[in-house]
Amino acid sequence: MSWIKRFLDKILLLDLFAGLGITFRHLLKKKVTVQYPEERMEPAHRFRGMFRLDEERCIKCTLCARDCPIDIIYIDWHQEVNPETEKKEKLLDRFDIDIQRCMFCGLCEEACPTNPKSIWLTSKTYELASYERWQNLYVDKAELEGWRVRPAYTDDEIV
């Protein structure tokens, strides 16, 4: 009998029809495509997107630059006496990030000692492509401050 079964298996093509059935069922299912320019997926809260810098909070410790695995953060600062309070203050001259080489690992954000962080990646901005190479070679501090505001963590704070 087994050979009859095998022969029937061979000629009835049930396995092929099963596959056809599965694909046909999907023909009518709801599609999962996201129509990109019109609909955009909202990144998660922790999404590591474009940088944002808060110069007020930054204490110019350069830990982020030191912790960067590929050394793309360039920070210059100088000390000045504030005429109002007559205290020495650190002032940021330059805070540049070579975005082209950035791999968005988030170690700079983790290194930042201020609370809340003065540099962070969770700006949910992922459309960083540009037409010309020079357009995103460096991102300076003015640009860094211009990106979208970080959404507050609802549940926790990063260690």
Binding site: L16, A44, R46, D67, C68, M103, C105, T154
Partner: protein
């Protein structure tokens, strides 16, 4: 390269057989990146095969030596770039062993969870590419639909989808977000049905069986001799799984089976991976149930310094096989030497043994079944 004497071909040499040399890759749709094979073919039959690798060599091991331990984690993402979590796990495990750090249980559970989710996503990618290599186009999209969900879970956890950078020496940098456990449970709850769907398209399909059963035979002796690990070894009847043999993290708390199949062919390796996905679902569910509260980061110095002299090897079961890191410390915050043992490197080395004598179409199936990622091979 081995010179093949055409007289030993089982074919009438009356007509003067002339072999054709083909450069298969590095740009070829089926070589999964930049694998290059120098093929000698006699018609459709492969007479000789010589893999040439190194097209994606980025000097990652040199980079490891230049950076402190914690800065190397993002670099490990880029070895086997479709399974970043297991790379991270192997690396941080080695560093923790070298420094004597003990990870808190919650962090350990999260690591187990992430590496199993990573196994699911990596196997889904493997299935997609394997199927599309053999000509079945549709599983590609079905698997990517589910892989997207896994990647979303990763994104919610650590902010990245592919190059996760989700582990640190000493523990986990983040806690699970609110609602993550529920979403993950929902996904793994519905996932076995999806596996049934893929299997319905492929497992019993006669064309799929014809293309895979008996193709790319890798005998157990050969597999051991070539240090093949992972699903390829388990498809050859040897049940070596680092998760069971030398449990790391929380795997000794988990109840799961290691699927082993004994026919040594492409079809069995396919079955192994399909079954592994189901087992991963089990592990993830157990992790979600047992997940304890507690700290995420062990007590550790701000600057991780290796002991003056000492070297450790720590291996984990990556989706593709055993990935291990061998780290030599020299008393500085940087590793003196950090070697990643990529499973794909060894799995692709055995390729000529599996394809010589077969057809070009078999070569495609066999490359697919090795699940090679050239980022890990070339480092």
């Amino acid at each position: 390269m081995v010179e093949v004497d055409s007289s030993d071909l089982s074919r009438d040499t009356l007509f003067g057989v002339e072999e054709m040399e083909i450069n298969f890759g590095p740009q070829h749709p089926a070589t999964h990146g930049v694998l290059r094979l120098k093929l000698k073919v006699d018609g459709e039959r492969i007479v000789d095969c010589y893999p040439v690798i190194g097209y994606l060599h980025r000097g990652t091991e040199k980079l490891f030596e230049l950076h402190p331990f914690f800065q190397n984690v993002p670099h490990t993402d880029r070895l086997d770039y479709v399974a970043a979590a297991t790379n991270n796990l192997a690396y941080v495990g080695a560093v923790e062993k070298l420094l004597g750090i003990v990870v808190p249980p919650r962090a350990s559970y999260i690591r187990t969870l992430l590496s199993e989710l990573q196994r699911i996503s990596s196997h889904l990618l493997w299935l997609a590419t394997h199927a599309i290599d053999i000509g079945a186009m549709t599983p590609f999209f079905y698997t990517f639909r589910e892989r997207e969900v896994v990647l979303d879970l990763f994104e919610e956890y650590c902010g990245a989808r592919l190059t996760l950078n989700c582990m640190r020496p000493g523990g986990q940098p983040y806690d699970l977000p609110v609602g993550w456990v529920e979403r993950c449970a929902e996904f793994v709850g519905g996932f076995p049905e999806k596996i049934d769907e893929y299997e319905g398209l492929l497992t019993e399909n006669r064309i799929w069986k014809k293309r895979t059963v008996g193709i790319g035979i890798l005998s157990p002796e050969m597999a051991l001799d070539y240090a093949v690990t992972g699903p390829m070894l388990r498809g050859s009847g040897i049940g070596l799984d680092v998760r069971k043999a030398m449990p790391y993290e929380m795997y000794d708390q988990m109840d799961f089976d290691v699927p082993v199949f004994y026919n040594c062919d492409t079809y069995d390796r396919y079955l192994v991976r399909m079954e592994e996905m189901r087992q991963s679902v089990r592990i993830v569910q157990q992790c979600l149930e047992k997940l304890p509260e507690g700290p995420l980061m062990a007590k550790r110095p701000r600057v991780l310094k290796a002991p003056k002299e000492g070297d450790v090897y720590h291996a984990v079961e990556a989706p593709k096989g055993e990935i291990g890191f061998y780290i030599v410390g020299d008393g500085t915050p940087n590793p003196h030497r950090c070697r990643g043992r990529p499973p794909s490197f060894y799995n692709i080395q055995v390729l000529p043994e599996m394809v010589v004598g077969g057809r070009i179409a078999d070569l495609i199936a066999v490359i697919g079944t090795t699940d090679v990622v050239l980022g890990a091979v070339d480092r």
